[in-house]
């Protein structure tokens, strides 16, 4: 319209300058709205994520006084090397690694087996699918108390049927405590793993399996050569997610063993539980901060692994 009124059309530079001005104006106008929309999240993150995260690094350099009220003492890196070099820290890392090894591969294998078995056209299969996914409705606390029906020394079935009547619970046995906590964890996560694996199985096109069948591949071969490779991204993903959550395991340990048997060198004293007891029972925020930082870097490594996989998958889908 304006073009009609003007004798000469504006030059390219003029148009560009005009558009640039418009863009800047829009940006200015939208900045206020953006700030309004982002600030709720940013305030929460600043107060409850970044501030406590960075404060760990400050706390790590000071020794916590034996009695509250006394001044904190600068310790430099001494406290960090003390904690990281301590037998209790090495024990908790080792316990958590063992816990991850006990829970993750077995959990994934079981979830996969159930998903494959439930992935067939049979009447009433939805009932089985619901049952296999049902443990997703249990929290860590529910799962832990449910397993007391089996593991409690007086009323549990395990001691009775193993002929250990009157003996202590397996949860108090240094050899068996961690495998039992792992068992509860596997059971509690089974529903989730099953759902994850089922979703991945359903995404496999039937034609692929049929083609393999036409080529003369039997069920075992089809499973190993077609299904497993196609599921490998999901399996890897479940592996990383499971390993990260093993490092964050807390509830089942607090409810079943309190890190024991064996005190601060306990057979189930995982790293997160160690952080908790160091801060809340021994009230030592300095050493607890060092432990938190260690936990952060371990989980960070695992998260980066997961993100790399995720990037690849997104790329692949495009």
């Amino acid at each position: 319209m304006t073009a009609l009124a003007e004798p000469t059309s504006p030059s390219r530079e003029e148009i560009r300058a005009w558009m640039e001005r418009a863009r800047r104006r829009r940006r200015m106008r939208q900045s206020g709205l953006a700030l309004l929309m982002l600030s709720p999240s940013l305030v929460i993150f600043a107060v409850f994520v970044f501030y406590p995260f960075f404060r760990n690094f400050q706390l790590a350099f000071y020794r916590t006084p034996p009695f509250p009220g006394l001044p904190k003492q600068w310790a430099g890196v001494d406290q960090i090397t003390d904690v990281l070099g301590s037998a209790a820290f090495r024990n908790s890392v080792w316990v958590t690694v063992k816990f991850a090894v006990l829970t993750v591969p077995v959990g994934i294998a079981l979830g996969l087996v159930l998903a494959v078995l439930a992935h067939q056209r049979l009447r009433g299969i939805t009932v089985y699918r619901t049952i296999f996914s049902s443990t997703v409705a249990t929290s860590v606390a529910v799962a832990s108390v449910v397993f007391l029906t089996l593991l409690n020394p007086q009323i549990g079935l395990v001691n009775y049927y193993l002929g250990r009547e009157g003996a202590q619970s397996l949860l108090q046995d240094p050899t068996w405590a961690l495998p039992m906590v792992a068992l509860v964890t596997i059971w509690q996560n089974l529903g989730f793993t099953f759902i994850l694996m089922s979703a991945a199985l359903q995404a496999i096109p039937d034609e692929m399996l049929e083609a393999a069948e036409v080529d003369g591949a039997g069920p075992t071969r089809r499973f190993l050569r077609v299904t497993i490779p196609l599921l490998s991204p999901t399996i890897f993903f479940a592996f990383v997610v499971g390993t990260i959550s093993a490092w964050q395991a807390f509830g089942q340990i607090d409810l079943l063993t309190q890190g024991g048997p064996g005190g601060s060198h306990g057979a189930t004293n995982t790293l997160t539980y160690f952080v908790f007891t160091d801060f809340f029972e021994r009230q030592n925020e300095g050493t607890a901060a060092v432990l938190s930082i260690a936990l952060f870097f371990i989980v960070l490594g695992l998260t980066l692994l997961q993100l790399r996989y995720f990037e690849r998958r997104v790329h692949y889908e495009r």
Binding site: R27, Q30, S31, L33, A34, M37, L38, P40, S41, L42, I44, F45, V47, F48, V49, Y51, P52, F53, R55, N56, L59, L117, Q120, L122, R123, I125, Y128, T130, I131, F132, A137, S139, A141, V142, S144, V145, V146, F147, L148, T149, L150, Q154, I155, L157, Y160, W187, F192, I195, A238, I244, Q248, F250, G251, T272, V275, F276, F279, F280, S292, V299
Partner: protein, 305 residues
């Protein structure tokens, strides 16, 4: 049998009636029998596995119904002859399950609504608004995913304590009102909306708020639903944080309440187990009603871990 099996069965019997050759007939019968045996075997295997998965829950229900003197008797009771349903009422009142569930529902509702709201707002800003440092701020959001909550409990406990929020709903909920994961998930969903929608809305005189409420949110319902389910599960199942900051009966969530119950003496164990079943019921019902959304929420949510 299902479509697949019955089709095969009838196809086999069709052929069987047409064929008169006795050798072939026998072969066809054998195939059919093998097929039937296969089906029976599959059902047996599925049922045994389902039994194993459910067994701990079954024993919890059995134990919740036993009279106090029976639960400690040996050999263990596997089928309750006498069923004391009143243990559930006792768990609800004397076991404070009613109170714990109330707290859990309130806190979970606040966290879920809060996370969905803050995530929608942040995702909208990242998708539809132009402002300085947009990329940097988005990276800051993603960075929060790298910090597990367990790493921040020391200072967060002190912050909540300094705010005088120990034993309060705000203490239980406020640290979780925002989530980088939610903003990320919804941004991914918002980005798939066609740009022409925005222009059309603009022509109709929609401002940003109206466009957000009338177009973006309704069209992104699946992603928002998935986020809501994910937030709900995370909030409902929380254990460490409520254990730290709420030791008052009034503000104890169900999960921490179970710890309390599990430390009761043996005679009260049936009530502990009744309470456990009551604690698990809300999620179980939701699982049955919203199974589709649950699957979506879990598979999307698992990205965070």
């Amino acid at each position: 049998m299902s479509a697949d099996t019955s089709a095969l069965d009838s196809a086999v019997s069709d052929v069987a009636t047409q064929v008169s050759d006795p050798v072939q007939e026998r072969r066809i019968r054998a195939t059919r029998r093998r097929h039937r045996i296969g089906v029976v075997l599959r059902y047996t295997l599925l049922t045994v596995l389902a039994g194993i998965v459910l067994f701990p829950v079954y024993m919890t229900v059995v134990n919740s119904l036993l009279p106090a003197d029976v639960i400690v008797a040996r050999p263990p009771t596997l089928w309750p002859e006498v069923r004391e349903w009143n243990h559930y009422a006792t768990a609800w009142t004397d076991g404070h399950l009613g109170l714990y569930l109330r707290t859990s529902i309130i806190v979970t509702a606040i966290i879920t609504v809060g996370q969905v709201a803050t995530s929608i707002l942040a995702a909208y800003a990242f998708t539809f608004l132009d402002f300085p440092f947009r990329r940097t701020i988005f990276v800051v959001f993603l960075a929060t995913l790298m910090v597990p909550f367990e790493v921040t409990i020391i200072t967060n406990f002190q912050t909540i304590s300094d705010l005088n929020w120990l034993n309060s709903y705000q203490g239980l909920a406020v640290p979780f009102l925002a989530t980088g994961f939610g903003a990320f998930l919804l941004r991914q969903s918002f980005l798939t909306l066609p740009r022409s929608l925005e222009e059309a809305a603009r022509l109709d005189g929609y401002g940003h708020w109206r466009f957000l409420a009338r177009v973006v949110v309704p069209l992104s319902r699946p992603a928002i639903g998935a986020l809501a389910v994910f937030s709900f599960l995370l909030a409902w199942n929380q254990y460490l944080w409520p254990l730290l900051i709420a030791d008052d009966e009034q503000y104890r969530t169900v999960q921490v309440g179970l710890k309390q119950l599990s430390q009761s003496n043996l005679a009260e164990f049936p009530i502990t187990f009744a309470g456990t079943i009551l604690a698990a019921l809300p999620l179980l019902i939701l699982l049955l009603v919203f199974s589709k959304q649950l699957v979506r929420g879990l598979t999307a949510g698992a990205v965070k871990g």
